[in-house]
Symmetry: C2
Subunit: 314 residues, 2 copies
């Protein structure tokens, strides 16, 4: 369930006017921006953008970028964009880093539905005039690159059907590769990147039944190996997305200095989906509410905005 609290039918024109007031003249009224945008779902935000553009002949996103700054600006930018467009931006930023942030790519392939991933690919092409696949392929290399390109290049089957014999045989294939420490075996990449999520869950469960440990525990060799870390992430994302996101948030908050990019990404991409359950998991795991933890590690408008998306009542 969503953590976002949004009224049913707010007026896009009134919202656009209020935002115009907040960004005009000396200074910016960040609180007003948060109190509106922090309580609107994707469709409502889109209508506000359109109303703003029609009324003031100005791109709202560009205006907000020029008015805001820092982590707050980044978070608002990611929130105000269409979800598929935002995810295209996140993917582009992730692959352009000196060390590719595989999390974003793995999430798109292993948590998003095939149709959602396709929408992100279309948005990517509309924005960057190139395919996500070609950019990813030319920005990555080695085993990690091979794995990520395979992950993202697949239009997965989304059905519930499971082939138990295939689950058994592929659990065995994975185990043999792991036993011989050929972690980058073609078959490992093939199975993890092409099989449907339902089939993969069956395979991973079978693996656990046969070999007494989860496959992720076996897929550890060199802790610095980014490829192996990405494979483990892909398995976790398929097995339990909410648990995975809880861990991303926990790591982001526990990191010295806080990993704001990861924190923003999870809150912004999940606020309309399952952030409520992720919050519950966080509380169970850490005995402190996510709101408290976020409030402790962030500050100012950025803090206020995240807390709003987390469902804090004004």
């Amino acid at each position: 369930m969503a953590s976002l609290i949004a009224p049913e039918n707010p007026s896009p024109v009134a919202d656009a006017e209020a935002i115009r007031k907040a960004v005009q003249g000396w200074g910016t009224d960040e609180k007003a921006i948060i109190s509106i945008m922090g309580h609107r779902n994707a469709v409502q935000r889109k209508l506000i953008r359109q109303a703003y553009e029609e009324t003031y002949q100005e791109d709202l996103i560009k205006r907000l970028e020029s008015e805001l700054s820092g982590h707050f600006e980044k978070a608002v930018f990611r929130w105000v964009l269409d979800p598929a467009d935002r995810d295209a931006v996140l993917a582009n930023v992730a692959m352009k880093q000196s060390k590719v942030d595989y999390h974003v790519i793995v999430e798109l392939s292993c948590i998003y539905s095939p149709e959602e991933l396709l929408a992100v690919k279309r948005a990517y092409q509309a924005r960057f005039k190139r395919s996500m696949e070609e950019d990813l392929a030319s920005h990555t290399s080695g085993d990690l690159g091979k794995f990520l390109v395979a992950l993202v290049g697949i239009y997965r089957y989304d059905g519930d059907e499971i082939d138990p014999r295939l689950a058994k045989s592929e659990a065995n294939v994975l185990h043999n590769a792991i036993k011989e420490k050929i972690f980058n075996h073609e078959e490992v990449i093939r199975i993890v990147s092409t099989r449907s999520k339902a089939q993969l869950m069956a395979t991973y469960n079978r693996y656990k039944d046969e070999y007494d440990t989860t496959i992720t525990k076996h897929l550890v060799d060199d802790p610095a190996d980014q490829y192996l870390a990405a494979v483990r992430t892909a398995i976790r994302c398929v097995n339990d997305p909410k648990k995975y996101y809880e861990k991303v948030i926990r790591n982001a908050l526990n990191k010295p200095g806080t990993d704001e990019d990861a924190l923003t990404r999870v809150i912004v991409t999940r606020a309309e989906k399952d952030l409520k359950e992720i919050k519950e998991l966080y509380y169970k795991r850490n005995s402190v509410s996510l709101d408290h933890a976020v409030a402790k590690e962030t500050s100012g408008d950025y803090e206020a905005f995240l807390l709003t998306l987390l469902g804090k009542e004004d």
Copy 2:
């Protein structure tokens, strides 16, 4: 342009009735089936299938399969199916052969538009309850498998934009790999499988300008190497699909015993698209009309059906 000759608004109900008459009782009236189905476009054929099913509570495709036989049955089956569904069947048949028929896969990736390929992937999943990618990946191996999975797993950018600097640098990358005889270089697979068609044409032209020969001429080593043959095919399909199809038909007709599968595939998949131009190319290249050549190498209902799709007036 299409070679198919179809009336503007035939009655699906009357067509279904006529086909019912042709398949009922002793024997089958193949001529009647050809004279109707051989003159209907994809939408019209779909309406006939629906009208037939509604009126007779029977699947027309199954009925035709039980009434017809040999190459004629195969051709009618491929023609009567929805195009995307037919292409899914063709891909499935191609990858299940002991030696994968890479032509079908390469055509889907390098001639079909990204949206058309996507439609085939959707049809494949609806029919086989698995993704095309996972089946392809588990039926192929080695360099050829790697290349085909990459080709099919990409949602290519379809725009016309070209980056001339990139064309120059990637022509160079390709040339270096070829010069050192590392034909299966990761970069070769990456470039050929991920770049947009417009960009690839620019790269291949640049290659020709810089190194005085077409890249396909340089991509020859062991003639039995299926991977290299597939790469050359991918390049030809991007550069000039009609010329490529002319060659497929020529090879199919010249082969001792005729390659009916290839012949049927090109005629059935292109009759509503560009078979008229392919025919003209064939005539220019071979100084004999394609109708004549097909009539010479085929016979009976199969011959009559192909000639009808080729636009022969009744």
